[in-house]
Amino acid sequence: MNDARTDGAAGPLEIRIDSKTYVSAEGQAVEVIRDLTLRLDAFSVGALIGPSGCGKTTILHIAAGLDPNFIGHLRIPGQGRLGVVFQEPRLLPWRTVADNIRLVLPPEQSFDQLDDLIDTLGLGAHLTHYPGELSLGLARRVAIARAFAVQPDFLLLDEPFVSLDVAVAARLRDELTMLTQRRQVTTLLVTHDLEDAIQLADRLFFLSMRPANIIAEMALPPPRGARDKATIDEIAEQVKSQVPGYASGAART
């Protein structure tokens, strides 16, 4: 039905979804994605932007190789070394923060080498805690630490800043920028927040409502992660004037 393969670490990410259908609770097939093509250069950060329910998480699952039930084609960068931040933290409740991270480490990586990462995400004081003892913001940070601890060639982030308070979200954004700069990793970020996307990404992909496809694509001027408020606002204005339906709120949630 579809063929998926991995390329060398430097290959681009290519996702082509001719069709993706879910079977609804009533037993009807609902097509949520149709004729979607997405190509992301190696080591760049792409942002998928679209209203909630349009199929962003579905695309991420397909990109992660977790959902083989689609018609299309998938080419993943790297040797399959994948880091994922799911929409929910998905930590193991019966393992401490440290163990949750330790469990995903590749053989050549030791936990002690992660000090920087742990510091950056402010997890030092929480390593012996269990996930049930953490706030949602902290749990998200653990999930991000885990995704980076893998030393991924390919990183997928599903709305990592949603439902966090403003200050925490801002810090996480900066941390993410630092992390993607420190390590060369092809990243696909899902968000429904335009400013998040502009701050973090090299390339924006705008999704339509069901069945989803890409209605517009925009390459942002480098360097990513160093855009100031004025630049971000300027780009946002550009998006609103260029992306059909965006300003009218059709793509807003």
Partner: protein
Amino acid sequence: MAKVLSLAALLGLWTLVAWLTQSPLLPSPMRVGEAILVDMQSGELPFQMACTLARVVAAFVIAFTLGVAAGYAMGRWRSVDRYADPWLVVLLNLPALVIIIFAYIWIGLNETAAIVAVALNKLPNVIVVTREGARSLDPNLDEMARAFRFSWQSKLRNVIMPQLAPYLAAVSRSGLAIIWKIVLVVELLGRPNGVGFVLGSSFSLFDMTRILSYAISFVALMLAIETFVVQPLERRTNRWRRRAA
């Protein structure tokens, strides 16, 4: 504290009734205690208890291993469940006594038959509970483990077992209780030793002192295992839950 008081009250009641009736059919706690001491010293009681305990352990290990494997497969894969479920229903509804008699007749009056009979009696319950546990496994964590390329050993240890643990603990508890009771019946019907055998022969002699001393000793042993082995294990697997509360 309440436990101790209630046990003391039971002992007091027993002493009182025994003293009132003065019948050989209800020996006093003192006499039963003496009998226990005597049989302890002669080595008779420890030997018979060890025979029974060995059967309990063997049957438990077999029922548990097979039951967890089968229950997991049935909970995880619908097709397995569809084919295996009718067998399970049959096994669930076969009376313990019927299974024991079949085992003794088909396999012979030997140790294998005894243990198979007990294990088969416990098996369906282990399967049902494990299947329930396997059905409730969190698909999100399953995906997480796949995305992060957990080895199957790591997945079993870190993702699946902790979720099944409460079910397995429940099954061990009820399992121990059911199994030792069935072992006594199996011994009564076809074994030349074990607590069940002693109870059977004492019954034909109406030797109530002996019956009570063996029964009480074995119940005490099972309670000790429950308290000092099963419960601490359960507490350990639930440590993260209490911390998280």
